[in-house]
Structures are given as C-alpha cells and as structure tokens.
C-alpha cells in the first residue's frame, strides 16, 4: 500500500476505525524533540553524566576526601599506580626511616622482594612503615641473616588506579570530579526549582489579578532588576556563609525575576481565553483558575527557561567558587576543582582539563536541550 490516501481509503478509514486520537501539545512536543538529534544526544549524555555522578563515587574505590600522601599530583593514566620508577625511591625512603640500606630489590608481578642491611640488627616491627605508605601492603619476612643485620622481605604492592590523576592533596580526581558533579547538579536543580516556584506564582498572580496589584508587584520586580545582581549574591554569601544549601535557596530566590516577567506576559493573554471566562462564569475560585487553567498553560516557556536557568546557576556557582565564596573544602564542586586546576595549570594540566570537560559538557547539553525544547514547543513552527 502506498502512503498516499485516496478518497476511498480515507472514507473507509473514517467509517471503520476507532475515533482519531488527538495529539496533546506535550505528546507533539516530545516527538519533535526526539527528532532533534542534537537535543536527543544531549539528553543521553546528560543522563549518563548524572548517573555517573550519582553512582560513580561509590564504585571508583576511593573516597572523595581520601588523601594519598605518596601520590600528590600524579598525572592521569590508564595503568595502575605505582609505576615501576616510583617504587625504587619509595623503598629507599622507607629503608632510610628504618635506618637500613637497600641491598637489592626486585619486583615480580605484584610482589616486591627487598633485601635490607644495617650496621645493627633490624627491628622487624619497623616493617610497618611499608604498610603505612600508600604503595605497599603488609610486609612478610622471608629470611634473616647476620644476626638480624640482613633482612629479606616480601612486600605486596598495593595497586591503585587514578584515571584522572590526583590533585595537589593527593586525592583521586575522578572521584572528586564525579562527587563535585553531584554538588553542582544539585545546586543547579535546587536553585532553579526555587526560582521557578517563586517566579511562576508571582507572575501568574500579578498577571491574573491585574490592575493596581499587578502594578505594585511588577514595580517591585523592576526595582530588584536594576540592582546589580552580583551585589546581591555576594551579600547572600556574606549573610549565609558556609551553608551552601541555604545560600542556593537564596540565589534561587534572586533568580526568579525573569520567570515572573515571562509568566505574567503569558497569563495576560491566557486570562482573555474563553475557557477561563467559562470557569469564571461557573464560579470557580481565583486560586482554582490559577491552578487548573493558568499555570498549566504557561508551562511551555517555563520548561524552556528552566533548562536554560540550570546551566546559568551552575556557572554562577562555579564563578562564586572561583572567587573562593562557594562550596568549602573538603566538599567540592566543578567550580572549585576548575579554580584549583587553573592555579596548577603549569605542570598539572589534567587538574583543569577533566573538571572543565565535565562542566562544559553538561552546560553544552543543557543548552542544546533548552534550544530543542524551545523549537519543539513553538506552535508557529509546525
């Protein structure tokens, strides 16, 4: 059968088939969004990043605040640490703490056989120094000679993976980047939710009630608008200090101004619609009309604005962290990691590169999704 419908087939279809199922705005938007390849790819990538950030820190094998003193600022690499050229100096260091000399050392597989000599008898208990280092596990004595002045020991090597390298405190950067992602994403979502809630309620109320109340409410928005935004944010940091949840609730409480304007504009046109007048005639309360008719119909632009606000907030957070006003150690966010990476860019580029890739990747995705949603929800563009 061809796809072109002749009058006959149309008539047949009309007489026999079930009633045509209407397409809702949202179902329609969804199909158009899925057809947009950039947006779809962004959704996939973003989901992957989010899952990695939530689950990742549990499976990397390191804690986000675990310090490896022997692995400060080691570069990112696929092979496990320690590298062969790291073992020699480490053994020398440990031996000198034991007041002994290394006569020979040999690595076979994951074990190191080391022969120590000293002018006096070596105290076996000092072998605990091996265990205390991040490179080895518990040493086992194999052989003792010369009244204890010579000691052969087998030391298992502790293998660690640092796929993204470590930071200047010797913490695993992969774990920290993923953990930071949790914080950054949580902040973005949290602040945006607050902003959307306040903005939608404020805008819908102002637009629907109109008149003097509208005037007053929007005048307040105008005055807040003309205050330099960063001034507010820095003051909020000063007020709330290190409590970052409170701070980002407050940032959300500042970011609602655009939302209020958009929703008010939408509401003004919606309240002239027949279905709203019908609801009024039926005696539905103002709150009821707002909930049932006005707010659901403003959601299109709200969703678009929301996806664009999340990256804005994440950027703002990283900006504050860069200034040293954001999340405090040992907690971390992408902004904190990038700020630290920028300081260590000479010599330890990986500290800037990996968090930057995660941050910009996430922002890229959110921007593409926002653009895709705008196109999908635009009724002009069928």
């Amino acid at each position: 059968m061809s796809d072109v419908s002749t009058p006959d087939t149309v008539a047949a279809a009309l007489s026999t088939s079930a009633p045509v199922k209407g397409r809702s705005l949202w179902a329609d938007a969804r199909t158009r969004l899925v057809r947009n390849r950039a947006a779809l790819a962004s959704i996939v990538v973003l989901t992957f990043v989010a899952i990695a950030c939530i689950v990742g820190p549990l499976v990397t094998g390191h804690d986000y605040d675990q310090v490896y003193q022997d692995y400060v600022r080691v570069p990112a690499q696929w092979q496990a640490y320690p590298t062969p050229d790291q073992i020699g100096p480490a053994v020398d260091r440990i031996a000198s703490r034991m007041r002994a000399k290394v006569e020979s050392q040999q690595v076979t597989g994951d074990t190191l056989r080391v022969t120590l000599t000293a002018p006096r008898a070596i105290d076996e208990r000092l072998l605990v120094y091996f265990e205390r280092s991040d490179l080895f596990r518990t040493a086992k004595v194999v052989e003792k000679a010369d009244e204890g002045k010579k000691l052969v020991a087998d030391v298992p090597i502790k293998r660690n993976h640092f796929l993204f390298g470590t930071d200047s405190n010797g913490r695993d950067l992969l774990t920290r980047t993923l953990f930071a992602g949790r914080i950054s994403l949580a902040i973005g979502v949290l602040a945006t939710t607050v902003a959307i809630l306040i903005g939608v309620l404020w805008g819908a109320t102002a637009g629907y009630l109109g008149g003097r109340i509208d005037n007053l409410m929007m005048r307040a928005v105008d005055v807040l608008y003309s205050l330099p935004f960063i001034f507010f944010v820095i003051l909020l940091v000063v007020f709330f200090g290190r409590n970052f949840v409170l701070m980002f609730l407050a940032v959300g409480a500042v970011e609602w101004l655009d939302m209020a304007r958009i929703v008010r504009g939408q509401t003004l046109s919606i309240k002239r619609q027949e279905y709203v007048q019908a609801a009024e005639a039926l005696g539905v309360t103002t709150g009821g009309i707002l909930r049932r008719h006005v707010i659901p119909n403003t959601l299109g632009p709200v969703v678009v604005y929301m996806t664009l606000l999340v990256p804005k907030v994440i950027l703002l957070e990283s900006f504050l962290s860069f200034l040293g006003l954001g999340v405090q150690e040992p907690m971390t966010s992408w902004g904190v990691l990038i700020a630290e990476g920028a300081k260590n860019i000479q010599g330890s580029t990986w500290m800037l590169v990996f968090p930057s890739i995660f941050l910009t990747g996430t922002l890229f995705c959110l921007n593409f999704i926002g653009d895709g949603l705008r196109d999908a929800l635009d009724p002009k563009d069928r």
Partner: protein, 306 residues
C-alpha cells in the same frame, strides 16, 4: 528628541535613589565591619577609628551624611584602601576597565555580527554549524577556563604576549584580557544576529530584493537594519557590564581596573567602595538603556520619541 533625553535622565534619579537606599542598608545589615581583623583592634583604637569615619553615629544619620555628600559628588573615603578616596580609586581604575571593555565590545559587534550574518546566509550548511558550534562553545566555557588556557598557549608556549600585568597599558598586555572578555560576547552576538537575520531574510522586502537580483552587499545592508534591533537591546546591558570591568579577568591577568572592587569591597565591608561601585554600575546601566532606545529610533523609523 532632546526633551525626551532630559525626561529620561530625570526619571532615572528616583531609580538611582532607590538603588542607593536599598544597597546602603543591605550592606550595613551584613554582619562584620570594615575594621574587623584577624587579631581584633584595641577597643580604644576601634572607637577612634569609628569616630573618624562617623560609624558611631546612628544609621539614619550616616545615611543622611552619605546622601548629602553624594549630592556634592563626594563618594567618601575608602575604608579598605586607606589614604584613597573612592573618587580617586575610580579615576584610576575606570579608564583601564573601560578601555578593555570597549575594545572587547567592538570586537564582539564586528566579529560576532559578521559570523552571525554569514551563518544566516548559509543556514543548515557546514559553515552555519561551525558558527553555531563555536558560539555554543563560547557561551558555555567559563572565562576562568578560557583565561588560563590563553595564558598557557599564547603566554608560555608561544610567548607572543605577556601572561599578565598591566605595564601602563602597553598594547601587548591588553591582547589576552580583551580576547577573554570578548569571546563570550562574540558568541552571544553571533547567535543573536544569526537568529534575527534568518527571520529577516524570510521577510517580504528582503525576498523582493533577492528576487530582483540585487548584489549581496545591498541585501545585507537592508536585512541588517531589521536584524539589528534584538542585538542592540542585548548590547545595552552587556556594554554596561563590560565597561565596568570583570572580576575574573582582572584577577587572573592582574589588571588594576575596577572589576575587583565589588568583591573586595563587599568582603572587606568597605561600605563606601561597595556603594560607589553600585552607583557607577547603575549609572552605566541607565545610560546604556537610554542609548539603546535612542539607537532604536535611528534604526527603525517607526520609533519616534517626542
């Protein structure tokens, strides 16, 4: 037109007054004071300092003092940069920030505008995708990532430009900061110009021009007029922000502009410095919004101001 400008400037006064009032009391409510040090000052010293700066007076009286000084154009002494008045600080830093900001703005308009127009004419072709990709990149990569990368590449590896410092405004020293400032703006302008141009290229008058086979420059000139409106209204606030300096760029490149004053002032409770910065920024925003409206009238003959 002249009357309109005067009316707009007059109506800016109450707005400015509100801004001054709100920020005056907000910064005063913040905990801590300008003379809090790691090791607290002796009580007597503190008392004397507070007396000199009139911080011992009741708050409403201080507000009155500040307002009346402001009327005479006096922004007061700085609490943090002792020996300097706020006026002196701005006289030194503002020209520097403005020079960087203005060049970055110029770059944004010329480069961003050109890229946007080219992309619009080649919609859904590789050139277009390249421009859109570049623009998205410019918007999403934060300045504090771009700046160190530029420093590494052009400062250390190629050693074309110094990594930082002002060096009395030598051109070589301004290249990297200007690039950093301009990149996100170029991106935004390119995106906006592209979107607006695509819309205008579909409009009847441009289609007629194209149908009549007029040369490309003529078509571009006609289309640009219509496409410029949204870009101009974005450029107003953006120009105000650029000309008043950027904290990140000035910190990373060690430039003595005024961008850092906001953060430093708020963190050190330098009340007068914060107030001065708020006022300067607010004036820039108000002036540039007025300029935007005037440029509207130039571009769009339907807009008239009586």
């Amino acid at each position: 037109m002249g009357l309109y400008v005067i009316r707009r400037l007059l109506s800016a006064i109450p707005t400015l007054f509100l801004i001054v009032t709100i920020s005056f009391f907000l910064i005063r409510v913040a905990p801590g004071g300008p003379f809090d040090l790691e090791r607290p000052l002796e009580a007597k010293v503190m008392e004397n300092l507070r007396k000199i700066y009139q911080l011992d007076q009741p708050l409403w009286y201080q507000y009155w003092l500040y307002l009346s000084a402001l009327m005479r154009g006096d922004l007061g002494p700085s609490f943090y940069f002792r020996d300097f008045t706020i006026g002196e600080l701005f006289a030194r830093g503002l020209p520097i920030s403005m020079r960087l900001g203005f060049t970055a703005l110029l770059l944004a308009v010329v480069v961003g505008g050109t890229l946007g127009v080219i992309a619009a004419f080649r919609q859904n072709q590789p050139t277009d995708y390249a421009v859109v990709g570049l623009a998205t990149f410019g918007i999403t990569v934060p300045t504090f990532v771009v700046a160190p990368i530029l420093q590494i590449v052009f400062g250390l590896t190629l050693s074309w430009f110094p990594v930082g410092g002002w060096n009395d405004g030598a051109v070589r020293n301004t290249v990297l900061p200007i690039l950093t400032l301009a990149l996100p703006q170029v991106a935004v302008v390119a995106r906006m110009t592209r979107a607006a141009m695509i819309e205008v290229l579909r409009s009847n008058h441009v289609r007629t021009l194209r149908a009549n086979g007029l040369p490309l420059p003529v078509i571009v000139r006609h289309a640009l007029r219509g496409a410029a409106l949204p870009v101009v209204s974005y450029l107003g606030p953006a120009a105000a922000a650029l000309l008043t300096g950027s904290v990140v760029v000035e910190t990373i490149f060690g430039i003595p502009g005024i961008g850092r004053y906001f953060v430093e002032g708020a963190l050190n409770r330098d009340y007068t410095l914060v107030m001065g910065t708020v006022i300067v920024i607010a004036i820039f925003v108000l002036v540039f919004n007025l300029l935007v409206d005037l440029v509207y009238a130039l571009i769009d003959p339907r807009v008239r101001y009586e």
